[in-house]
């Protein structure tokens, strides 16, 4: 059949390039391996020249693949499944790149691009180690580019070709019987980008995170090259790389946390998903590796552990990739892929292979050469920096193991056929351990800088350390006593632990500040490490305080709770949702909240709700604009995006959990009832009491026109749920004309009309009661308050800045050495 309007050329070129990049990475691995082995200088040089040429071909192919995908997606060539499945014509152009990382193969491509870029920087900066390190990187490239192949090899499909035509990918769909299928409306429009990813964090978070992922291969590569060549002087050039990697990986993870905080509506940033936790573990081991690396460089201790940590870091990156993409977390994670797909089975095997390709040779070389790796027999001094740095690294590693073991239960289930599920409070299961880790690491971060390498005199140490200790104690005690940390939900031990951890985190900040002033005499150039430590301390303080003090503001305090408490009692869960009726102010603790209106923005297709928050004591008044977006990809319903009011010391954070729009025509009619003052009338959802009749009430003046005389009723409506409402229907009279001033109780869909006075002597009146289907739009809202969360975000920025300063300092030192 001849299909109309297809563009086949870009896909053919793309698939060719995918195969080319796979083949060239294979050749480059082989060539670099030979270059590394070759001892003859001129032969070695020719191998290196050849390898570089092949690596250049590979780099160009990878970039060209990326360019072609961008081309296909931005031109809406929906004959390609990739373009159709991840984009639409109405998608905002700024999300074009997000379409690429929504896809499995697209995100592997991103990883591959970073490998190429980092590879060239290595060639430029570290020529001495080029052959060994580039060999390792190219092996990584072989694994990654095989994910993009999409070819059959002895009946097994290897990788997914991002350039596959839709009609080849799913040949059984009947639409392909139509040669003009591209003009079908849903095909023409495109399946759109997942609404969760239509967020600015998703434009920036994946490239940074994948740069972090990709950069962890470099310490691995240096260590591997070191063992292959039996040389250990790589520990010096690797330091800026490991610092860079720790900075970028940390930044990427925290951007993911920020995205979760701002967009996923889970009301948190940590421990909400095993995938996030799994990516934190390699960061911990990398930081551990960086510290023992510094120990070795300065003292000669800890070389074996440096090797071990760098090897394990990249392996753990691969393991977290496996957890995310193999579908094994399907039942425990929100963003894992699902398993029962044939493609995923293949990817599962490929991913396991990817891990083994790196883990097995590295561990083989490590244990075979273990005896040859130089160590110092004499023990470290207790009053030495290296001893405590090593302990700190071990604690980080153990913390990583614990987190990793907890996230691996699905793997454990798969291997042993058990049926272990996550615990009731997964977040607390992590926190109750990690708070002790925070305690120890905070303390070590504070104290260790004041110890010197090799040995420190106790007097000097004592003299230096007491000032920051005292200051930190004062600050943290004032936080503990004045900060109002009443986190007693989990028992006194945990609360005490939190207070101690707050002290050590503050201690880390103060002591490092003091170190910059005192020991470094304020020389900021060489203060990179201290600045990074200050940032780390701030991150700890931010995490401790914000998670210990997160409060639910939308705690349901309306009449509904009375009913609920009985049912809930046993569980004691907060009833976190509050129902708001359009333009009815509702009581929410310190605030009166009103759902003012909603509007649909035609550009981003989101529906924005205007929610007014007025503090009851008049101290504060602001509006939040949480929004919802219609789900795409064949799903109904909406995805919600929160909106936050940022203060320097807290965030108030609100999002829509459901909304109902009234689009039912009002067909109900008034039923007339006779009533006297003090009488009770029933309606379908409760009752109403006529309190009194008022002539010309002052408070109703605004509803009247000039010269009108009025008669108003005060009616109390009590719904079955126990909510009370005031209603004031009235009549306005001017000369001979009479006008009804009806009152509506939106929340009850109730309209009251004061019809007439029947018998003035007996006080008998007639009112009309109308109950219609739904009168008003309503939303349910959740509102949280996070105190001091900005300290966390600011801490991340400070930490990354510190790493940057440290890297700059190392590079300057190196170029100074060269020029001398």
């Amino acid at each position: 059949m001849n299909y109309i309007g297809e563009h086949l050329l870009p896909g053919q070129i793309g698939h060719f390039l995918a195969i080319l990049s796979f083949v060239s990475s294979l050749i480059a691995s082989y060539a670099y391996f030979n270059a590394n082995k070759e001892s003859n200088i001129s032969d070695r040089q020719s191998w290196i020249r050849f390898s570089r040429a092949v690596f250049a071909v590979e780099t160009i192919s990878v970039f060209a693949i990326f360019g072609l995908i961008v081309f296909i997606v931005s031109n809406h060539y929906h004959e390609y499944f990739f373009a159709w499945n991840h984009s639409s014509r109405s998608l905002e152009p700024k999300y074009l790149l997000s379409c690429i990382w929504e896809d499995q193969s697209g995100s592997f491509l991103l990883w591959s691009i970073w490998h190429c870029v980092l590879g060239w920087v290595l060639i430029w900066k570290n020529k001495e180690w080029e052959a060994g390190t580039l060999f390792v990187i190219n092996v990584g490239q072989v694994c990654i580019s095989s994910m993009l192949l999409g070819i059959y090899f002895f009946g097994a499909k290897i990788g997914n070709n991002p350039f596959i035509l839709w009609r080849e990918h799913m040949p059984d769909i009947p639409i392909f019987a139509n040669p003009d299928y591209l003009q079908l409306p849903r095909v023409y429009e495109g399946n759109d980008l997942n609404t969760l990813l239509q967020n600015y964090w998703m434009v920036i978070h994946p490239p940074i995170l994948f740069l972090g992922f990709a950069s962890t291969i470099i310490p691995f590569a240096f260590a591997f090259a070191g063992l292959m060549n039996n040389r250990h002087d790589w520990v010096k050039p690797v330091i800026p790389w490991a610092s860079f990697s720790a900075a970028i990986l940390g930044l990427g993870i925290m951007m993911g946390a920020a995205w979760a905080y701002e967009s996923l509506s889970f009301g948190g940033y940590w421990a909400w998903d095993p995938v996030e936790n799994a990516s934190l573990v390699p960061w911990l081991t990398l930081v551990a590796g960086l510290h023992v690396n510094l120990v070795y460089k300065n003292t000669g201790y800890s070389l074996r552990s440096t090797y071990f940590f760098y090897f394990i870091t990249f392996t753990l990156i691969l393991y977290s990739t496996f957890l995310t993409r193999s579908g094994i977390l399907a039942d425990t994670s929100v963003h894992a892929f699902t398993v029962d797909d044939k493609n995923l089975q293949a990817i599962y095997i490929q991913l396991v292979g990817f891990i083994l390709v790196f883990l097995v040779p590295a561990m083989y070389l490590f244990f075979r050469n273990l005896k040859k790796i130089p160590t110092i027999q004499k023990e470290e001094q207790t009053y030495s920096r290296e001893f405590w740095m090593f302990i700190g690294a071990l604690v980080l590693f153990m913390a990583g193991i614990v987190i990793s073991a907890k996230t691996s239960t699905p793997v454990f289930n798969k291997v042993f056929g058990t049926k272990i599920a996550p615990p009731e409070d997964a977040e607390f299961a992590h926190n109750q351990i990690q708070v002790f880790v925070a305690m120890v690491v905070g303390l070590l971060t504070a104290v260790t800088q004041f110890l010197k390498y090799k040995n420190t005199s106790k007097d000097q140490f004592g003299k230096k350390i007491w000032i920051p200790t005292a200051i930190a104690l004062v600050i943290s005690l004032s936080i503990s006593f004045l900060g109002g940390i009443h986190f007693d939900k989990k028992g006194p031990v945990f609360l005490v632990a939190i207070h101690i951890a707050i002290f050590t985190a503050v201690y880390a900040i103060v002591a490092n500040l003091f170190y910059i002033i005192d020991a470094l005499k304020g020389k900021l150039k060489s203060a990179g490490a201290s600045v990074a430590h200050i940032g780390f301390g701030m991150v700890l303080v931010g995490i401790l305080i914000s998670s210990a003090k997160k409060t639910v503001l939308s705690w349901n305090t309306t009449g509904v709770t009375v009913l609920q408490k009985n049912e809930k009692g046993a569980q004691g869960d907060p009833a976190e949702n509050l129902t708001l009726f359009k333009s009815v102010a509702t009581d929410m603790g310190r605030y009166m909240v009103t759902y003012v209106k909603d509007t649909i923005n035609p550009v981003d297709h989101k529906r924005y709700f205007e929610i007014d928050f007025s503090a009851k004591d008049k101290s504060d008044n602001f509006k939040l604009y949480p929004d919802v977006m219609k789900q795409n990809k064949g799903m109904e319903g909406f995805s919600a995006n929160p909106s936050a009011k940022h203060y320097w010391f807290k965030d108030i954070f609100a999002y829509i959990t459901s909304f109902q729009e009234n689009n039912v025509a009002d067909t109900a009619t008034f039923r007339d009832k006779t009533i006297k003052t003090g009488d009770t009338l029933f309606y379908s959802n409760g009752l109403m009491i006529l309190d009194k009749v008022v002539v010309n009430p002052e408070e109703q003046k605004s509803k009247l026109e000039a010269g009108e005389v009025s008669l108003f009723l005060n009616i109390t409506v009590i719904s079955k749920e126990g909510r009370k409402y005031q209603a004031n229907p009235g009549i306005a009279i001017k000369g001979q004309s009479l006008r009804f001033v009806n009152d509506t109780i939106r929340a009850q869909s109730l309209v009251l009309q004061f019809n007439k006075v029947i018998d003035q002597a007996n006080g008998k009146l007639e009112i009309g009661v109308k109950e219609s289907g739904a009168i008003t739009d309503l939303i349910t809202l959740k509102v949280y308050e996070f105190p001091l969360i900005n300290v966390l975000w600011l801490g991340v920025v400070v930490m990354v800045t510190g790493f940057g300063m440290a890297i700059r300092q190392r590079l300057l030192m190196k170029s100074n050495l060269k020029s001398v």
Binding site: L184, D331, L344, L394, N577, G634, S639, Q660
Partner: protein, 136 residues
């Protein structure tokens, strides 16, 4: 024995203790019928919404009350009560992961995790549905 060795051993011991104590917190995946046997114990169920039974959620009456009937692959069914908002798309979901405990005749749910069709996988069926929903 070196100090570092002692400390390594202590840390390993702590990690083991921590992990063993953690296993005490863990719950298990159960079927509806086996969960009924363990009334009051915190469990995880994998099920789907029984579409023949009513899903009760009315934000006007109570925004924190959802009840529906869950059905598992072995044919067991149980009424589920969830004191929170109704997750969007719940009825559409192929599988739902429910965490909570059986209390008398119903399942008192603490957390619902949805597995939506076509969210992350290339499933021809849902793709076709998506194409045909407004197409020809």
């Amino acid at each position: 024995m070196k100090k570092t060795h002692i400390i390594i051993l202590v840390l390993i011991a702590i990690s083991i203790v921590v992990l063993i104590s953690y296993t005490g917190d863990l719950s298990t995946y159960e079927t509806i019928s086996s969960a009924r046997q363990k009334e009051g114990k915190f469990v995880t169920l994998i099920a789907k919404v029984d579409k023949k039974q009513p899903v009760e959620y009315d934000a006007i009456k109570n925004p924190n009350y959802l009840s529906f009937t869950a059905l598992d692959s072995l044919g067991g069914s149980i009424k589920v009560i969830y004191h929170n908002n109704k997750p969007t798309d719940m009825e559409k979901s192929e599988r739902i992961v429910l965490k909570g405990r059986v209390q008398g005749d119903h399942f008192d749910c603490k957390d619902i995790l949805l597995k939506c069709p076509s969210k992350y996988k290339d499933d021809p069926n849902s793709t076709q549905k998506s194409v045909q929903s407004t197409g020809k």
